[in-house]
Symmetry: D2
Subunit: 160 residues, 4 copies
């Protein structure tokens, strides 16, 4: 095979990062062969696992969730989430998953997720999640604690 | 604790069915203990597996997807999906998952999903999915085949 | 196709039960389409999920494990497990999974598992698991509590 | 707590590699938070996913399996597998999973797996798998192809 254009493998590594510009938290996961289903693509539910991987990393970075043990006190709970599938994922590949917070309300904040395929050099999916502050002892939603607001603002470089 | 109303265990079994009124395809799945995560509820991604269980049953009922082997020709592909979490799920329990088609466009149709917890006697989640007709050989979206339109109309008792 | 013998669909339903003769705890699980992998059979790790489903049911039946919340006190822990694959599983199908205890030692007991495919009317897998009594507070193995021995003997109809 | 010895974090990085000495194929996987179950450890079935990750990498390295598409011709099939759990795994962590072939028979070969926790700096599990040469067209076991024997010998540096 001969061709004159740049080879795919010569894409500048920063281009993957460019696709995740604005995402302050990014995690990397290898695509597992066993995550493909009978249609021979990564199964649709695995994309939500990738979103979770990035969401958990975001929670760690901001310290808003105790990740060891059963939740207690005020903690985050996922109220809704969605995914727009842009491209199939196949083994072997590696995905970079970005997460960011786009708005903070009285009881909840909204996150955006993006999955980038390193092999395809393309966005594989975009997603959204609404995370509610939940009082695990009283078993009802709570006001976003000021410490969360500060931590989220700090990561995103803005004032929520 | 004392109360005068009917006990939860005395709810009439038909009430579960009432919660799924209008869903023409309903599947039943036991909740697996191993599907709970460290927060001791069924993990958020498993709800999308439940949606898939009902979607696949819907595909079978209408015959719009060949489920054995790699897809070829015109087949359905999930373009986007979302879930609103209403109540946590715990082991032991059994879920009933309903699926229905609410609209059919030129290249896609929209589905609704509902998960009902038998133990909690409550709706655990609602979801939506957009399914696109995809030409697996040409690798691009296709027009909804007339046979699909007929089959979807037949199941839903309307004229899409 | 023509043949003189009995058709598979005419097998007497009890024959499935015969394949699970001697298993005091049996659970039933539908095969999920999404549990098939790119080789278009149920993925090898899902068989261990089936074993777990039966093991957890066994723990419930005997009351030897607190299944809600983080384990504390003396509880069972899986020390080793194995699976012999006898036949592939495909969607759609339903599996019956049997579990029994075959021996009880000073610190552990041994379980056997069997998975039967209802559609194939055949044993899909056999497995073994060693469960150790574990002191979750002291973080070391413990002596099998007399109450466990009694409960296991009672279910199996013998004297461990 | 006070102690005089070297701190765990000061272990030399090579020590992880030492724990995988003799394993010619090693893959690295981050531990996903969502792979923990209600007992707040990585669920027992995930260890078999880790084994699979390494087995698939081994198949790629030796070229003995076509990993894209439905299997055809002579391909490897997992006949049995087992796991001995040595230590719990928790998020956050990263595991290194080694795979090697220890013997080759007429129709099958035996593999060993080892999972090392980077955070715990310890072996988390050991496993074994028997892989059979399977004629996917004739649907029966086959003789190990000479090319497999050569490839396995080459990776392991011996003469099977």
């Amino acid at each position: 095979m001969s061709f004159d254009g740049p080879r795919p493998s010569m894409h500048h590594p920063l281009m993957i990062d460019d696709m995740l510009d604005g995402f302050e938290v990014v995690v990397t996961m290898p695509v597992a062969w066993g995550d493909m289903d009978a249609f021979q693509h990564v199964n649709n539910i695995v994309y939500f696992r990738y979103f979770e991987d990035a969401r958990i990393a975001y929670f760690e970075r901001t310290g808003i969730a105790g990740l060891s043990g059963r939740p207690c006190g005020i903690g985050p709970i996922l109220a809704s989430t969605s995914c727009q599938y842009k491209a199939p994922l196949l083994y072997p590949d590696e995905v970079r998953i970005g997460a960011r917070v786009t708005s903070v309300g009285e009881h909840s904040f909204e996150m955006e997720y993006r999955i980038v395929s390193v092999a395809a050099h393309a966005i594989a999916a975009e997603g959204v999640g609404v995370v509610v502050a939940y009082d695990y002892d009283a078993e009802r939603k709570a006001t976003i604690p000021p410490a969360w607001r500060t931590a989220l603002s700090s990561v995103e470089g803005c004032s929520f």
